[in-house]
């Protein structure tokens, strides 16, 4: 099956005509995927490959599994997958790989499956960066709060890691509010307003996603409170609040890199026949192109560079599909 010889290695990194790669996600209408898919397409174009954007518009694991299974029906060369939940995807991913379709995960992982690579920004690094920035701005003995979204792993990690980091390194920082707002701006408004009431000395708030940040800023502005807001991800509305100085900073995963490297990882896995590493892959029968973790990094968005993060401006003249 993988008998390509080193002599023709220069030919292996090209797509055959019609060779297709799929990017499969949940809640496929969410704007987060847009720049990721752009990166994916740009990389694919460089190798002469075709791409498909697929998945389910719903927040529904069975629907995503069905769409993944349906992707497989069409025998693509590989799939870059954002698995909504890790364990339910073990069996489908393994089935895909056993049938010769390579799978790489991004932004969420299925570590126990046979996927060949995982591309993501390092949520722990984001949390650590956010913690250091908060301490730098408000000192190391202030009150802070977090909003969260229990059940979504990357958001969970951003919050729990920050709290742990604070406890370990800045024990005088006091966590005074911790509310679940589930990306709902109205819920975030209500929760933030209440936290502000209960904690007049609140100095900073960390929010793991942008939807809640919109509601939180509205509450802070209405209460005329002086609170440092930091959040992850970005939307046009929070971008504008950064420009206006109401949000201090946002940490945004490098979505373009995520998609670009995601394509590379799955493409390389599918074209691993030119690769003969020093290990046991031949006898054990796994794909030699194993990359446990690719960090796509994150961007720090502040007043100074905000203009570069306008997604609507970026998408001018590009094809989203």
């Amino acid at each position: 099956l993988m008998l390509g010889t080193a002599a023709r290695a220069e030919d292996t990194l090209r797509c055959a005509p019609g060779e297709t790669y799929v990017m499969n996600v949940m809640v496929s209408g969410h704007p987060y995927w847009v720049p990721v898919y752009q990166g994916f397409k740009q990389a694919a174009a460089a190798f002469g490959c075709e791409t498909v954007f697929s998945g389910t518009p719903d927040y529904d694991i069975t629907k995503q599994i069905a769409s993944f299974d349906q992707d497989l029906v069409k025998q693509p060369a590989g799939v870059l997958l954002h698995p909504m939940q890790s364990d339910p995807f073990i069996e489908p991913i393994n089935r895909a790989i056993d049938s010769g379709i390579d799978v790489v995960t991004f932004a969420a992982d299925s570590p126990l499956s046979k996927r060949t690579a995982y591309v993501t920004s390092d949520n722990l690094a984001e949390a650590k960066f956010a913690a250091e920035e908060i301490v730098k701005q408000v000192g190391d003995s202030a009150e802070y709060a977090v909003l969260e979204n229990p059940g979504q792993s990357n958001h969970d990690l951003r919050v729990t890691a920050l709290i742990q980091y604070m406890e370990q390194h800045y024990p005088k920082m006091k966590l005074v509010g911790r509310q679940a707002t589930n990306q709902d701006s109205t819920a975030a408004y209500r929760a933030t307003a209440a936290i502000l009431q209960a904690n007049p000395k609140l100095a900073a708030i960390w929010i793991p996603e942008a939807g809640s940040a919109e509601g939180a800023v509205t509450a802070i502005l209405e209460a005329k409170a002086d609170v440092l807001v930091m959040h992850a991800d970005i939307t046009p509305a929070t971008l504008e609040q950064i420009k206006a100085g109401n949000i201090h900073m946002a940490l945004n995963p490098n979505q373009g890199i995520q998609g670009y490297m995601g394509f590379m990882a799955v493409f390389l896995a599918a074209h691993a026949d030119g690769f003969d590493p020093f290990n046991d892959y031949k006898v054990s029968g796994y794909n030699p192109m194993q990359i446990p973790f690719i960090d796509n990094g994150f961007a720090v968005i502040t007043k100074a560079n905000a203009d570069s993060f306008d997604l609507n401006a970026y998408m001018q003249g590009r094809d989203p599909g």
Binding site: G29, P57, P150, A198
Partner: protein
């Protein structure tokens, strides 16, 4: 059988001051909310501050406008699952038009008109085709959300250049009172009055109570249902425009799950899912109850993992207590 014997909340008031208050359908709910407020004011010194109250009211004011539309629709015997999507669609339409250079007031007017049109289409499917509100509005919920995504590519639209005069309706205050709250109060007072006293809205009660008897009383019941369906969508559109002014952006994913919240508020407030009964005052009290509970849990910094459990339990307790209070009074 027993429960159907309750004095129905037809909104026709009775004589006498205090006695009348005690006999009102809403008294139980008011009592429950008061108990909650008193308990909270002991639990947290911040609860009864002006800023907190303002924030709590701001949290439900705009949704309250949708609750008004839903309550009227429920009374006429309908239901609308699309309110969240339609609210978002109003934001998106107004936002896109504004970005295309249309005056924001005109853009808002067009957006509200579009929502009205959607309501009218739902009304046609219900009254002319004869489908059930539930399934029609479910389909429209999905379609409207799709239109939001299509219009924006799924991306929120930032509307930083909205003129201050327009932002005023979402962010401004007249004296100490935010404009949003004023709009909400005006809408509630007007519709509460009309629903209790006007002949036009009395027909809504007749239609919802017994559509056939209403038809046999010469009421054009299909027209009534068409109009309540449309009105609910219009008010969702109004809410969307106000949200846009308030947030300074249009969010295509806004309002997911809003329908359950809104219907729950109306039902807690005494609206019947079978039609024929309900009051605006009650529905708003239901909204207040749900919202105050959420705000209180946040204020007390209750653990996230406990919040849902407590919220659900309070909801169940409140409706049970309210039910017994009404039953007792019904039996005199």
């Amino acid at each position: 059988m027993e429960s159907s014997m309750n004095v129905a909340a037809t909104g026709s008031p009775r004589s006498g001051g205090l006695g009348r208050l005690l006999r009102m359908r809403e008294t139980g709910l008011i009592a429950i909310i008061l108990v909650l407020i008193i308990a909270m004011s002991f639990a947290s010194p911040y609860f009864l501050t002006w800023v907190n109250i303002r924030a709590m009211v701001m949290a439900f004011a705009v949704e309250g406008i949708v609750v008004v539309g839903m309550t009227i629709l429920l009374i006429s015997g309908g239901i609308d699952l699309s309110v969240g999507s339609v609210t978002a669609l109003a934001m998106v339409i107004a936002g896109l038009l504004f970005l295309a250079g249309v005056n924001p007031w005109l853009a808002s007017g067009i957006a509200i008109a579009a929502c009205t049109g959607i309501g009218a289409i739902m009304g046609v499917f219900v009254t002319k085709v004869g489908l059930h509100h539930f399934i029609v509005s479910l389909a429209v919920m999905v379609i409207a959300r799709g239109l939001c995504l299509l219009g924006t590519g799924g991306r929120p639209i930032g509307l930083y250049t909205l003129p201050d005069s327009f932002k005023f309706i979402g962010q401004g205050s007249i004296g100490p009172i935010p404009v949003v709250i004023l709009i909400f109060v005006v809408v509630v007072v007007i519709f509460d009055f009309l629903l209790r006293r006007s002949t036009a809205f009395r027909r809504v009660f007749y239609t919802g109570s017994n559509e056939k008897a209403a038809a046999y009383s010469g009421i054009r019941t299909k027209k009534v249902i068409f109009l309540t369906t449309t009105l609910c969508a219009t008010l969702s559109g109004v809410a969307g425009v106000i949200y846009m002014a308030r947030f300074g952006s249009a969010q295509p994913t806004f309002g997911m799950g809003m329908e359950l919240n809104v219907i729950a508020a109306a039902v807690i407030g005494g609206a019947s899912l079978k039609g024929g009964s309900g009051t605006i005052l009650g529905a708003i009290l239901g909204t207040i109850l749900l919202s105050v509970v959420s705000s209180s849990l946040a204020l007390l910094d209750v653990s996230v993992y406990w919040q849902d459990i407590i919220r659900g339990s309070i909801l169940l307790t409140a409706v049970t207590v309210d039910h017994y209070l009404n039953k007792k009074r019904g039996r005199g």
